[in-house]
Structure formats: C-alpha cells, structure tokens
Symmetry: D2
Subunit: 430 residues, 4 copies
C-alpha cells in the first residue's frame, strides 16, 4: 500500500466523509473509466418520478468503497470476538478496489440497455478491469501483475476467499448498504434508512464470512424491511417503468432502422458501434457511452423523418410516460381488446405498448440456486442462527418474490371512458 502524504477526504452527504489514504484508490477514483460514471445516473429513469434522484453511479461507487472500508475496520475492531480467525489485512486493498470498481462497467440506462443490446454489465466491469487498454487496469497492475484478475474475480464471485466476496456481494453487502441509504436520501423516500453505525459495530468475523452479534437482530431486520419497502415504493414505481417502456421501444425502433440502413447518418459515430456490434462492441467504444450520449441521440432523433422514432424520442425527453394497468387474473383477458383499441386509435402496439415485470426477492434464508446463505447471528456461546428464524417479519417475506406485472399503453387512450375507468380501478393497487 502506498500511503498518501495526507489523507484525502471527500465530503459526502450520506456518509459524512469518504476517507482515502491509499494512493491506488485515489488513482482509481481519478481514472477515465471511473470518472465516466459521473455521467450515468444511478437510478436510470427513476429521477423522472422522484425528481431528487439524480445521483450518479460515481458517487454510489465512492459510497460502496467507503462502506467496505468501514466494514474492514469493524471486522478489525471486533476480531476479539472471533472464534475462528482474524481478518487478514492483506485483503484490505483487494476489497476496497473491488468495492470502488464494482459498477465500472455499467451502461447508460442499463436496465433497458442490457436487455436490448444483450450486454451484461458485470461482464463489462470485469473486462474493463482486466483489459490492458484501460487506465484502471494499469493502476491495478502497479500492485501486482495478477491484481486486476483478483479484483475481477472478487466482483465475479469466483474469488476463493468467500469472506472477501461476501463484503461486496451478499444479502448485506457494501453495495446494497450504500444504495439504500443513498437512494432514500436523494429521492426523499422515508424508507431505506437503517442504522448503519450499529450494524457495523455488531459485525463479527466468522469462518466463511461475517455474521452479527445477536444484539443486532432488530437493526438488520430493519435493514431487510427497508430494502423490501424501497423496492415496492421506489424501484417498482409504475411511472418510471412507463418511461422504461418508452425507452425500450424507442431503442427497438432505432435498431430496426439501423439494421435496414447501417449508414443512416442519424447514427453519429459515437453511438454507432453499440447498434452495429451489440455485446461484441469494443471495450473503448463501450466506455464512450454514457447517459449524455444517449440523451443527445434522442435529442437529435426527435427531429428525424421516422415518425415513430421521432415521437418516442420526444416522449422520452419530455417525460411522457406510458400509462399502465396491473396484469393479474382479472385483467389479463382484457388486454387483447385493449390492444385492438390502441391499434384502432393509430398507435402501433409494437412501439406504443409493452409488458414490464418488476421483481425482487427481498430475502432468502438459503438460495437453492446459488447455495448462498442468509444473514447469520452469533450468540455469546458461539451458536449461529439465521435471520428468518429470529424475525417473524423477515420470515413473512423470506423466499417470496415480490412481483408487479403491468401492461403499458399511451396516455391518450384514457380519453376513452371505458379505458379510463379500467385504469382508475386498478390504478394504485401496487
């Protein structure tokens, strides 16, 4: 570790200060690839509903780094309670670098983006870390030749030391801990808050990861419930999703135009590679993409000849969401007739309707798929118990996926009284 002459701090409205005393971390923060995250909003389009939610992936990444740093400190402070083994400080920089870089491969509006272009941001994160063309890679290599691969392995969950992986990816990892607090702060949602100071204080190193002193059951129950509520109230919000469907349909239309006419000048050079190559895109071309590039594309496209692309682009920039009704046993049979009415009104359902499922698994005491375990607590005598056994609230949502499935259609259809009535009836039943 190359210690800085003096600690560098960044004022952070959520965590107070972000402390950096390793020059590698400072260099990574200042790298081309990390600075790009300043131009990618953390919440995608949700700021179009919660106008405060304009925070970038950059500040989230700083936050995840800082929380990982505090977790390490907590494990260190609390290792006197450990029965198994102590935290190995060799891993400090590895954890902190992985935390800082965990989202470096995120695309603009990534939810929609990945779906359309068949990209997986986790893979691009790893590529950016191990690709010799990036600044991030060069900085990590100053630690050791295999350090980039080790950092990538931690993010990819294939790193052998599970304790290291858990700090970055688990049901109570630095990533989730940061985004809950941060998204709550910026959106103004009352949910999302929990007692991070207490949770860190009660963290205990165990054999394959970390657990919590039994005194922390209610604080962590509160964290799990807060996350559950943030999903239902913020991340699932039907109006954001009405904007996502606009965005998705607009990109589908653009891709079709590109596929027919790859030389069409509406695809200016910086935006062309993603339409041409999708997930085969060159890493540097990928890194050039950010929210600004897409917004500029939509800005230009709102005046192109293709009526549908122009209209959808304008709807997106001017925040004209599609409206929606819940899809359930009662409503699903109504869709074909609704779709017909939409078509009759002159809207091509391919571009002016959409189905969108929001899902979240709020907590799992054990994941049969991944073998991942739930959050564990330790008693003074060393006995370990999993959270859902201790909290009836968590047990109530354990393993139960939250789902909200909706059919989206143009707002203009609400002038039809029948559709308006249907809309009102199911309006807020989420």
């Amino acid at each position: 570790m190359t210690t800085l002459n003096s600690e560098k701090v960044f004022r952070d409205p959520i965590l107070g200060f972000i402390h950096v005393d390793d020059s590698i971390i400072l260099d990574l923060i200042n790298s081309h690839e990390m600075q790009r995250l300043r131009r990618i909003k953390h919440l995608g389009v949700a700021n179009l509903v919660f106008h405060g939610g304009e925070q970038s992936r950059f500040q989230h990444s700083l936050g995840v780094y800082e929380i990982s740093r505090r977790m390490i400190q907590a494990l260190d402070d609390n290792e006197k309670f450990a029965n198994e083994r102590h935290w190995d400080h060799e891993n400090d920089l590895l954890v902190q670098a992985a935390a800082l870089l965990h989202d470096v491969g995120h695309g603009a509006y990534s939810h929609t983006f990945e779906h359309l272009f068949d990209t997986v941001h986790e893979q691009f994160t790893q590529k950016i870390i191990v690709d010799p063309s990036t600044e991030v890679n060069a900085i990590l290599k100053t630690v050791s030749n295999d350090f980039p691969e080790r950092v990538a392995a931690v993010i990819g969950k294939s790193y052998p030391d599970k304790r290291v992986v858990q700090l970055i990816s688990s049901q109570l990892d630095a990533d989730r801990m940061d985004y809950l607090l941060r998204d709550a702060y910026y959106t103004g949602a009352e949910y999302g808050r929990y007692d991070i100071e207490r949770i860190l204080r009660l963290m205990r190193p165990i054999k394959d990861g970390f657990a919590f002193d039994i005194a922390g059951v209610h604080s962590i129950e509160d964290y799990v419930i807060s996350r559950y509520q943030m999903y239902l109230q913020v991340y699932f919000h039907p109006v954001s999703r009405g904007m996502e469907v606009v965005l998705e349909n607009l990109l589908i239309r653009a891709q079709e135009i590109f596929d027919k006419d790859p030389d069409n000048p509406i695809f200016f050079p910086i935006i062309r590679p993603i339409f041409a190559l999708k997930n085969k895109i060159d890493i540097q071309d990928y890194i050039s993409l950010d929210d600004s590039v897409f917004n500029t594309a939509f800005n230009i496209w709102q005046k192109v000849d293709d009526k549908i692309l122009a209209d959808l682009s304008k709807r997106f920039l001017d925040r004209k969401p599609l409206k929606s009704i819940v899809l359930n046993e009662k409503t699903k049979d109504l869709i074909p007739s609704l779709r017909k009415k939409i078509k009759d009104r002159g809207f091509d359902p391919k571009y002016y309707t959409g189905e969108n499922d929001a899902t979240d698994l709020p907590y799992e005491s054990y994941s049969p798929k991944t073998g991942e375990e739930g959050i564990k607590f330790v008693y003074p005598d060393g006995q370990q118990v999993e959270l859902s056994k201790l909290s009836p609230l968590v047990e109530a949502i354990n393993g139960k996926e939250s789902i909200d499935r909706r059919f989206f259609f143009p707002r203009e259809m609400l002038s039809n009284p029948e559709i308006n009535q249907l809309y009102l009836k199911y309006k807020k039943t989420y």
Copy 2:
C-alpha cells in the same frame, strides 16, 4: 372559539411548531394540571437505559394536540374525496382539547404506580376534567356547561361520534403518532420514524371515522412496523424493566411499613395520602404527586433505618438494575433453584427478585374484545380494504401478541459462575 389576537406558537423539535389560535387551548396549556405534566417523564424509567429519553408528558401532550389539529386540517382539506359526509368543525375544539388533556391524569412512573396503588390513569384523567376543583374544568366550562363531560367522554371512548373518538384512540391515533416520533427522537432509536406528512395527506373522512387513500399502504405499513420495532427494542428493554422491578419492590416495602406504622415520619405529608388511600385519594392530593415528589421520597428513604427500603431506594436513584433471564420452557424450571441461591446469599426474594412480562399487540385487523377495527384504505371507486389484507408484513404480526417474560435477580448473583453462565446464555435473546 375565542380566537387569539395573534397565533401563539411553540417551537417543537419533532413537529417544527405547535400552533395555537384558540384561547381555550392556550389556557388549558397554562393550567396547573397541565403544567404538572412537565414533572412527569413520558418514558417512566426508560431514560435510565436510553439517557436521551428524558422528555415529559407535557411536551407529548402538546404534540398530540398538534397532530390532532393537523388531522382535522387534513380531513378538511381532503373532504372533497369523501363519499359519506364532511368533517364537522363543531368538533374541532372538542378533539383538540381531548388530545391535549388525554394524559392529564397520568401518575409518576405510572406503569409501576398504577399497579401498586390500584389507580387507573384514564380514570384520573376523566376525574380531573370533570371535577369542579380543577383549573382545567373551569376553563372547559367557559365553552359550555357540558363541555368537560364531553371531553371526558371522548377520552373515555364513550362519546357517541366514533369519528371524534378515533382521532384520539385507535390504532393510528394522534397519541401513538406523537409518541413514536417523540420517543425515537429523544432516545436516538433508529426505529419509530415514519412519514407523518404523507399519512396526513392521504387521510380521508369515511362514515364512522377515517381511512386512507390506497396510495398510503406502504407509509402506514411502515408506521405499524415502526411501532412494533419500538416496542421490542425500546419499551421492552430488559434493563428498564430491571429498574421497574426495583421500583415496584421498593414501593411494596414502603407500603408495608406504612401499613404497620401510618405515622412514621418518613411519609412526609405530600406523599402520605397515596399510601393511605390508594385509588380513593383526593383529586387535589393526586395532582400534587409527580416524579419529583417520588424521587425526593427515595432520596430521603435511602437513609432510613429500614435496611431494605434504604437499599432499594439507593439502588433506584443510583441506577442499579436487577439483572434478568428470559422465562421460557427451557428456563422456567431453573427459577426455584435460582431463587434459593438468592435467598442463601442473603437477599430476600420478595424484595430482590421479580417476574415482569412485557406484552404488546402490534396490530389487530379486528378486535373481538372491543369490536374495534383495523386501519382501512379506500380505492378510487370507494371500495374499502383493511391493512393486513394489503401488507404481508402486517399480516405476519396481525393479532399476535409480542411477549417477553423475565425473571429478575440481583446483579451480585453473577459472581456465581453457574448463574453467570446461565445469564450469558440467554442474555440477548430478546
């Protein structure tokens, strides 16, 4: 209503400002009986665990008044959504006076106090309101001759207009709404917060009370869960209860001494009537009692000849709680032997041990006992649904009493290694 020349406001750290524009309310606030509540702590002995929790019943009463005032305003603002009937402003002062006075009959350390002296604070509240010897009564009578009785009926839940009663006493009343926020603020607990502004905004008058727009499900779910968590984490805290048992045993001992020797001068005049008459105490003598009087009694008693009374008084003032273990299937058979060891150590179990049950019913969709109903939501089409049907979290705790039952014993017993081990084993399993 006698409007004040200019609105009077009180700065409140939780609600911002408390607004008073009716001179009756201002006079009630300034009355002898209300000012007495400044000398009664809202949380009884819980400030001995959460040192910030020193707030008085006086400020809580101002808060309940202010929330009731905002509820009325919300019902008024939102009556355009009402299908049934509008809020009747004739009831404004009635509700506000009942809110302000709802705790006026509370005794010092009332949990213990009522148990020992067989008093019921709700009855004393009503007595103070209707008794012609009180300032409160005289002020209320300036409204109308039967106004004191009407206010008392609202607090006693016998008032015919259930809508009025519900604002003061229900599962989401002004009382609970204030104490959750206030206790959380002063203790520093992370629980107890919820979005009061949103809840008020979504309040809707219905036939027999009030309900909430369906959009408010998550905010109110959050309130119910917050209350549940505050009970388990703050109100049930075993160390407070260890102090309550000391207090209870000390008052039992004092009563025994009084019963044997009613002229004993350790019962100075102001404290004598409650020991002599218990719940038959004269209303003015009751009003003379507050935390200060009892603290002064204990202060004096710590130097009296009766060793047990002196010791318990000193333990109480110096915050020496009894320690405890949970009573459950595994532990209950151990108590007789533990009790014997305590006795062998020279502590009379009658005064140095105790059982204490903390219970709370976090939510009830319907109370078979009282016929009271749960919290209701209205859809745009007027349909009403009760909360537990909409929230799996609330359903998980619906109708299920939280219970924590404990056996308390002197800390000195922990020097016995066997007892210490037992203590540690069950220490934090609440």
Copy 3:
C-alpha cells in the same frame, strides 16, 4: 385558475412535498422547455468537487415555485398584521408561474457558456416565455393574451407591482431561499441551512413588498450568514473554478477552429448553431442545448486531430482541474515568470492558464446602483428598521464584496519544486 381534480404532489427531499393545484402550473412543469432543465445541472461543474451536488435546474425550479407558493400563503395568513394593504390573490398565478420559469432560459454550464457566447440567460428566459414557438408560451396564453408578457416582466423586474417582483428577485427571494437549502443538502455542506418555516411565519406584507416581524431578526441574520458562507465555501471553491477555466479554454479553442473552418464535421448539427450565431441563435436551437449535448461534444472531441482541443476535452471529462494560486499584492508579480515557465514546459498559456475572479456581494442595506433596499423588519408599532442596523454580524459584511481572484495553471507544473512551494504556501488561504 383551473383547479386540478385532485392536488398533485411531488416528493421533494428538501421541502417535503411540492404541491400543485393549478393545471396551468402542472402543464408548465410538463412542458418541453421545463423538462429540458432536467438535463442542466444547477451547480454547473461544482459536482466535480462536491460529488453529491448533481441536482438539476429542474428540481430547483420546482423548489422556487413551491417556496413562492408558501410565501403567498404566509402573506395571506399574516395579512392581519398588515397596516398598508392586503395581498392581492389576482397575483398568485403570476408569481408562481414566474417562480417556476425564472431559470427556463439557462444554458448548459451557463457561467462559462454566457461568457463565451455572449448570451444572457435572463434574456433567453424572457424570450422563451414570449416566443410563440414555445410550449410554455402557449400554456401561459390560455390564461390571457398578455400573460406571457406579464410573467416575463416579473422575471425582468420591470413589472410595475414591486411586491410581486420582490418575491422572485430580492435579497430574500424564493430563488435564493431554495438554492441555499438545496445546494447545502446535495453537496453535504454544513452551511446553507436556515429556518425557512420560521421566516415564512414572520413574513408581513408592507406597502411595496414584504418585511418581517422584529422577532425574526436572528433567523434572517442566520440566512444571510449562511448564504455568505455558502459562497465562500462552495461557490468559490478553487477546484471547481479550475474546471471552469478548462471548460472556458476548451470552448475558446473550439470557437477558433469553427471560425476557421465552419464546415468541420466535429461540429455536429445540434451544436453548430451556437458557434455560428452565438447570441443570435434561433430560440429552438438554443432550447436544444443542454449538458448532455456539450458532454457528447467533448466526448467526441477528445479524439479529434486538434491536440489542444482533444487534450482539454479529455481533461474536462476526466476531471483534471487546473491548479491555482491566489492573486494578491504578494503574488501578482510572480505571474509573468510563472507564465513563462508554463510556456517553456510546452503548454500554450492561452489554453492552459487563466485568471478567474469569484465575487459576491453578501448583503446590501441599500444599493446605490439599483435603488434596491435591504431586508426590513417591523416593530409592533409599525416602525420599520433595516437588517444591518439590528445585526452586528450583517453589518460586518454589509456592502463589502467578497472577492477571490486566482491564477490557474496545469497541475504538471507542480513537479517544479519552486512552483510547488509557492502553491503550498498560498494553498488554502481562501
């Protein structure tokens, strides 16, 4: 006023909720021109120093609207204290529309932008409001044919009713009241907070505007001091200004390239008009510009042949600020030699250095230039006194311009020990 069926609210992290009950306001919010402000950061480049400060002009505009709405309500509530005349509700919509639209003509990175392109955002704001090509204009015209002109006159301070103007432009207007709170919240600065609820409560209508009850002296002193501190600590921050100088030099270079070769394809269609026409730009072309368009230009330009433009573009996107030293009596003579060393090192001083003055007039009891007066207080007997006469703190800064003048140069120069020493010596003396 066209009242909405139901009040529309927007969750705001600073003001709680933003309330809209007039359909004109809702339509304005949803207009093309207002939605564009979502893509313009309120703080320009300051988020490159305070990473939380990413809030848009859009949310600021909502905030100014909401505060103007609360001011009107406060004047209404408090008009019983008025000696002169009451608030005229005819002006409600005028004030609110002016508040909402006051920044609608802001350009991207407007500080630098206006300087370079000789545009004045206030003029563009007025143009957008009165130009028949805009959505905003069409919406305002539904009120009355001259309504757009009246709104523009309020923003341009030429509206005859000074009371209306003062709410939007004065030393304690809705604009400043919002941005202080908002910028403090998002940057995490400890300054910038003041007691808005109390200030509104003590607002009193007077003949030509508004004043405050004498009880509010300290709250408003606190507001003035908070603003003073925000300027010195946040808005004057030398690192943001080091980024502004990069931006300015980069745009100067781009303009030179354009002037020589207007057909150069690096000026893609959407960015071309501003370089070609500057402040003569067509209003619709102006409206097309936002932060995203400029960021995309820099993104493209970092790979162009012109080494200087490419390098400065990359420096801007990757946040590589110029370093600086204060310009004062002691340092100003050192600049020529410093400039020479910079040139010798291969940096063209024209593009790699700059002088930048940050200035603010924190308070003026009377402006000889504009005739504008200071903040006034009223005693119960009607007597009026101006703030600086009541507060020694405000008197200490009254009429005194805060100035911070700096010379900026490339960070690379710090490897020269002499320059580094000079830099350290004057580093934090702001």
Copy 4:
C-alpha cells in the same frame, strides 16, 4: 487503564454512540454522584420556554466525555502534522475523567442557586472529586493516590500541562462543543449546529494546546457564530429569565423565613442544610440536593401560610413568568414610576420585580484578564494565525460583550394600558 472485556456503548441522539472501554470511566458513570446529575436539568428553567429542552446534566456529561475522547483520537490521528510534540497517551484517562466529571458539582437550577447560596459549582465539583467521602473519589484513587487531585486541577485550570486543560476549558472545548449541539437538538433551535466531524478532523497538536488546519476557518467561524446566536436566542430568552426572577425571589423569601424561624417545619430535613449553612454545607448534604428536592419544596410551599412564598411557589410550578422590558437609556427613567404602580397594585416590589442581566462574551482573540488566547490556525508552513484575523464575522463580535438588561414585573400590570403600551413597544427588541 483497565480495559473492559467488551466495549460498552450508550446510544446518544446527538453523537450517535458514546464509547467506553476503560472500566474507570464506566465506574465513574455508575457512581452515586454522577447518577445524581440525571436529576438536574442542563438548561435550568429554559425548558419552561423551549419545552423540548429537558435534557439532564448527566447526558451532557456523557457527551463532553465522548467529545474529549474523540479529540484525543483526532490529535492522535493528526499528530503526523505536528511540528512540536505528540499527544501523550498518559493523559488520556485524565482528560476523559475530567471531561466526564466537569459538572459533577452543579447544583439544581444552578444559576439562581449559586447566586442565593453563595456557592460556586466549580468548587463543589472539585470538592466532590477530592473528598474521601465520595464514590467518585474512591474510584479515581484506584488509578493512583494523587489522581483525584490531578483531575480536580484540570477542571480548576491549575494543571500545569495547558494542553490537557484546553481540551476541557477554552473557547473551543469539549464542554461547549457538546452543549451547543445538545441544547440545539433538544430545544429545536435552528442555531447551534456546526460541523463537529470536520473540526475534529482538522485539529492539530501544537506546543501549548491545539490548533486547526487553515482549511477549517469557516467551520470554526460557523461554530463561534452558532454559539453567539444560541446565546442571544436561547440562553438570553426573556421568558426564561422571567422565571428565574420568580425563582430567585421565592428563595429569598424562603431564606428570610428560615432566618427568622429555623425550626419551621416547611424546611424538611433534606432541604434544611442549604438554608442553614449555605456554602458551608456538608458535601454529602450538598449531593442530596437536586431539581426534584427543590420542586418538592415548592410543591409543599405553595400551600404554606406565608402568602408570598406560597404565591411565588405556585407561580414557579405553574410557569407564570414575570414580564419584562429592556433597560436602556430610554427606559431606565421609567422604572421608579413603574415600581410605584406595582406597589400600588399590592405587589411588594422586593418579591415581584427584579432586574436581570444576561451577558456573554462571544469570542476573545486575547483575554487581558486571564491571558487566554483565541482559536489558532496553522498554515502548511507552520505559521499560526488567530481566528479573528481570518474571519470578518468573528472580528465583528470579537471582545464585544452581548448584554441584555431587563426589568421584570408581574404580568397583571399589563392590564394597565399605559404599561401594556410600554411593554409592547420594547417587547421584542432583543
């Protein structure tokens, strides 16, 4: 230092957690003398104006301890910046014990109390620490025989190491840092907040104490201004002082009665010694006194035969403050006539009027009286500059005493229109 098995924490609403890992500190907290501070309100009677301000000296003492602990940690973390010498950890426990105990000798309602009984709480603090009859003394002696004296010397400012003294007593000491934040939190005042985390981070050990990195000028300016505002707005509040005058006059009357008839049974045993012996009171008798004892005395006295004592006691308990007007050049000549009218109305001016001066010296760059210096800043090159030279705001209040001098009289006099007019005229000119 005897390290505890596991760190003990106390949840604190202002500082998050209070951390104790030395058993001496824990024993001191649990001592008889410290627990007494739970029954003494920190703000005396100010909770009668700011109803939230009910916090005890006990929690303030925990806060001062915690801040002193963080200061030591900050000095330790930052000693790499020190030119002179490092912090000596030998002093840790000394500083922390002095911080915790600095107010242990405070009396009930001490402002009034000390004036009347000629006691000086600082002297009683030292007595309690060095007197062998106290638990605090016994605990301190387990460290070393002279440890009580050393702790007392630190509090008494006679300890030779000025650096140690400064942490507890200076213009930016742990005491002030805690009470500003704490009083602001509980009263709900908007003033009193400042950035403690940043201030601690910039603390630097210097030769004779501590200074701050030059980057901290604005944070500390903010602290000084906050303190100045808290004094003017909270501590000087004329209504609190109207209650203090009632209290003072009531105790004067009681003393007169006692002096005439020392056996009068209204002086029950626990309250007798202070009237009999004043500052010669036995230390254990002094320790028996707290707010509760005095409140109980007033409670009893409100029914005694002496009309004046009874009336003043009732006024105090029922919060009936005297009203006041400012004493200044314009008003002072009106007092004799006002006093006469009061007498004519049947109020004995001796007991129903009073003059009360509130004074504070907000900041002193150098105290000619004590030789104490102002707050110092260090530049990177080691140069030191005092705060008032760097901040025009601090310079504006440097060395200037804030004074508010008032004449108090019964509220009943306001029914006289002339007096009412006079009262209104000068009402809020503080």
